[in-house]
């Protein structure tokens, strides 16, 4: 019962949490409902969660200038120890309305936590603009120049054709590092009081430099489609692509304030003179200012990489058309005096990115980092100028030195080839300076530590190389295991062979060797039994047999071949103590004597038995 209660409570608490969570997610689209033809406007999709896989609709009837541009914001809040998190993701499109009419934009979709959400659909009405509907200006008098003082149009909305900005590049397919000039040109049919650039076109992936300043606008007139426009270059930049690839330059956003004359109906008195007076251009204060946002078109630049074929080793990043020269200010000088080496690189191209050439000076020279002077002028035709590197050199020891020729390499995009220019070789004669003592001094040895001038990797290894098939190792190969198993088999066969050979050759001897002592002790035991029974003859026979048999078994000699000398020699060879041998021989002799000679034998029996026992055990010990 309790459990069910608990379950119910849990469900009561959990369900709202879940439902809240799913209710929380909002995905909305917003856009102006009415726009005029030729206008550029924003469509924004907002979602209040962290989503991904955003899929925008196809904007039928519109041109997408840029987008979707994603921006994200998230915030954490701690209130009374409870944490809440809110996320917002905004996807923005910049849309250009090129056709008039009413258009439906289908919902966009986004995936949040594995669920797909759809935004609301949009309906946008594009109204026909006034000027584009009027027939082309053939009816208009040609003689109306678009000067700010002379109003052309009466109050009303400005159309796309009245003011627009065009962006164009002189090259859309440059090499990396090649100069591209981008120009933003303003075209207007109406007088403008003020322009303000809100959002400069940014140039990601480029190094850029402005070529004209915005306060020096030069006006000119141009006729497009029979209509006369006042034009001005509002921005011009030199761009140098830093890497290869396709780059989209976002449109420039500008706000223009047009000045239009307002018809002032309330001043119309009916009197032509007063009308004339009040509506006079000089007197009339009824100008109307209309702000209009203008976007330029987006430009795509496809930078191609520099060719690798024929690239010189010392090539840095100089791209353009350059001249290179190097000179020194004197050939002869004294120690500790200064010498100047001047390297000049001039021409047009990415001079800012030109690096100092790599010059190897004699190590006895003190050299300093070059003084870099650049005289770069940015004109409307691009960037050109001169860059100089001045090296200050101070020779410390007299002698004749050579500065080896050094090179400067650049890539000329107009010919598509690399060029390497080489400096002359400079010979410098250094004489002894005044502060150097003339004579040779012998006081002290002028030793120096080895100077480490640079670090470099070590040189490649030269043939012969120990090449082998990739991934094939000796270990775990068939051969390895073959050798391993072969060794074991060989070992097994070898030991088995040796064992069987031993067995076949010395089976009897081996057995006798092992049994020698046990046989001897057995015999001695029987001898002991005879001793107790006072059976003299049997006793001596047994002792003799034990001794002879022991030697015979031990050294694998047949009994028939045994003699006293034999036994002595054999024991001597085995390094048995001569005393022990003597005791053994004596015991044997005693036995033989007792066996074959008459007399009281019983009193010796005890002693002979002891001697036999001790000599056998002594020999046994010594043989070990």
């Amino acid at each position: 019962m309790k459990r069910i209660k608990f379950l119910v409570y849990t469900l009561i608490f959990i369900i709202p949490v879940i439902s809240l969570k799913s209710q929380d997610i909002e995905f909305t689209a917003s856009a102006p409902s009415t726009v005029s033809q030729g206008e550029t406007f924003q469509i924004t999709y907002r979602v209040n969660a962290k989503g991904d896989k955003f899929k925008g609709p196809d904007f039928k009837g519109f041109d997408v200038v840029s987008g979707p541009n994603v921006s994200q914001s998230s915030s954490f809040q701690f209130i009374n120890g409870k944490m809440s998190q809110s996320n917002e993701q905004i996807y923005t499109y910049l849309i250009h309305a090129s056709e008039a009419g009413t258009f439906d934009i289908k919902p966009a979709s986004i995936v949040v936590d594995g669920k797909t959400y759809y935004s609301n659909a949009l309906r946008i009405t594009v109204e026909k603009s006034a000027t584009s509907s009027t027939p082309k200006s053939s009816t208009k008098p040609r003689s109306t120049p678009a000067t700010p003082t002379e109003p052309i149009q009466s109050a009303g909305d400005l159309s796309q054709d009245d003011i627009f900005v065009k962006a164009y590049v002189n090259k859309s397919n440059p090499y990396v590092g090649e100069q591209v000039i981008i120009t933003y040109k303003l075209y207007t049919k109406v007088p403008l009081a003020n322009i303000r650039i809100n959002n400069l076109g940014t140039f990601p992936g480029f190094w850029s430099q402005d070529l004209i300043k915005s306060d020096q606008l030069q006006q000119s007139t141009e006729i497009i489609n029979g209509q006369e426009y006042v034009t001005a270059e509002i921005k011009k930049s030199a761009l140098f692509p830093l890497k290869s690839g396709t780059f989209k330059i976002l449109p420039l956003e500008m706000e223009a304030t047009a000045t239009l004359i307002k018809q002032r109906k309330r001043f119309s008195t009916g009197d032509p003179f007063f009308d004339q007076f009040f509506n006079d251009a000089f007197f009339n204060t009824g100008y109307e200012r209309i702000n209009k946002k203008v976007y330029s078109n987006a430009v795509t630049i496809n930078a191609k990489p520099l060719p690798t074929a024929g690239r010189p080793v010392d090539f840095g990043s100089a791209v353009g058309n350059f001249k290179f020269s190097a000179q020194i200010d004197r050939n002869q000088l004294k120690t500790n005096e200064a010498l100047n080496l001047k390297v000049t690189i001039s021409g047009s191209g990415n001079l800012d990115m030109v690096e100092a050439p790599n010059i190897s000076f004699p190590t006895e020279f003190d050299t300093y980092d070059p003084k870099v002077n650049s005289n770069i002028s940015a004109s409307s035709s691009g960037i050109s100028g001169t860059k100089t590197f001045e090296y200050l050199i101070i020779p410390r020891t007299p002698g004749k030195y050579i500065i080896k020729p050094f090179t400067f390499s650049y890539f000329n995009p107009s010919t598509g080839r690399y060029y390497t220019e080489t400096s002359p070789e400079f010979t410098i004669e250094v004489l002894k300076g005044a502060d150097q003592p003339g004579g040779i001094t012998y006081s002290g040895v002028n030793q120096q530590d080895i100077k480490y001038i640079g670090t470099d990797i070590r040189y490649i290894k030269l043939p012969p190389y120990h090449l082998r098939p990739i991934g094939v190792t000796f270990f775990a190969s068939k051969l390895y295991y073959g050798i391993l198993i072969g060794l074991i088999v060989l070992f097994g066969l070898f030991t088995f062979g040796i064992k069987t050979m031993q067995k076949r050759r010395g089976d009897v001897g081996l057995m006798r060797l092992r049994k020698a002592t046990s046989v001897a002790t057995k015999r001695l035991k029987t001898a002991h039994a005879y001793l107790k029974n006072q059976q003299e003859a049997q006793f001596y026979n047994e002792i003799s047999a034990a001794l002879w048999g022991y030697i015979s078994d031990k050294f694998n000699i047949p009994l028939a071949e045994l003699s006293m000398e034999n036994v002595e020699n054999k024991l001597l060879k085995k390094n048995v103590n001569p005393q022990t041998i003597k005791a053994f021989i004596d015991t044997l002799n005693n036995c033989e004597f007792a066996r074959f000679a008459p007399g009281n034998k019983s009193e010796n029996m005890e002693q002979v038995y002891k001697e036999a026992l001790s000599t056998i055990s002594r020999i046994e010990q010594e043989l070990k």
Binding site: T308, D456, I457, K461, H466, R468, S477, T495
Partner: protein
């Protein structure tokens, strides 16, 4: 002495273990290697790279080739492939001084500077010990020691003299230990080469994630040429550990395993 020994070893290994007559008779290969050397000497490093890569694509490898290729890439200032090839060379010849030197220089030029967690002294000793010789040399040692072990065992089993038997037994024990150690080293080297436990970052910059998911938290950024240890794999992701002990997930395409 050491070089003589090495030379002898390689003759044993190459001359007779791997049918080297196939390689020796190849004039084409010789011409390729000669042109690679001269291209490098003249400073045409990109040509040298092409030649050395061609040798590798013929299915042949050696520590020297990887090392030279690494040098050529280094000269072209392509640090990631340079380090990758130095590591490959080190795999085949773990104690070569030139390779260690150049790898150190290349590692000093990459963007990421990682404080290495110091190893315990016995780990260091152990490592430096088993890296004394390449895996194939250890394999050869294991065979030699095993053979000697069997001989000692034979002496122990067959000899009648107690002293010989004693010496045989002890020698057999010691040689068995030596044989098993060299076998273990050879085994370890083998698994090191086949398992591909390390990788080099090849992208200019990659974000290491907390889990194998694009939407997970960004942990840290690694740059081109950094060495990582591969701990795990899941779909198109690899779990990596860098030298200072940090762990995270990367897309498998951002690195090259070796």
């Amino acid at each position: 002495m050491k070089t003589y020994f090495k030379y002898l070893l390689s003759i044993i290994l190459i001359g007779f273990v791997f049918q080297a007559q196939v390689l020796r008779g190849n004039d084409n290969l010789h011409a390729l290697l000669d042109s690679a050397t001269s291209a490098y000497t003249k400073g045409f490093y990109s040509d040298a790279v092409v030649y050395y890569e061609k040798v590798l694509s013929m299915g042949l490898e050696s520590a020297e080739i990887y090392y030279n290729l690494g040098n050529a890439y280094f000269k072209l200032n392509e640090l990631a492939p340079a380090i990758y090839n130095y590591e490959k060379a080190l795999m085949l010849s773990p104690s070569d001084e030139d390779i260690l030197f150049n790898l150190k220089i290349a590692n000093s030029r990459i963007t990421d500077k990682i404080d290495v967690v110091p190893e315990l002294f016995f780990q260091r000793w152990w490592k430096s010990f088993y890296r004394l010789f390449p895996g194939d040399t250890w394999a050869l040692f294991s065979l030699i020691f095993f053979g000697l072990f069997l001989s000692a065992l034979g002496i122990f089993l067959l000899s009648k003299r107690v002293t010989y038997r004693k010496i045989g037994l002890w020698a057999a024990v010691v040689l068995l230990v030596l044989a098993s150690f060299s076998f273990a080293f050879a085994w370890k080297d083998q698994s090191r080469q086949t398992e591909k436990r390390n990788g080099i970052i090849f992208e200019p910059a990659v974000v290491v994630k907390s889990s194998p998911d694009e939407a997970s938290v960004d942990l840290f950024v690694l740059h081109e040429g950094t060495k990582v240890e591969i701990q795990d794999k899941l779909d198109k992701w690899v779990k990596i550990k860098i030298a200072n002990g940090n762990v995270g997930w990367l897309p498998a395409t951002t690195l090259k395993e070796y």
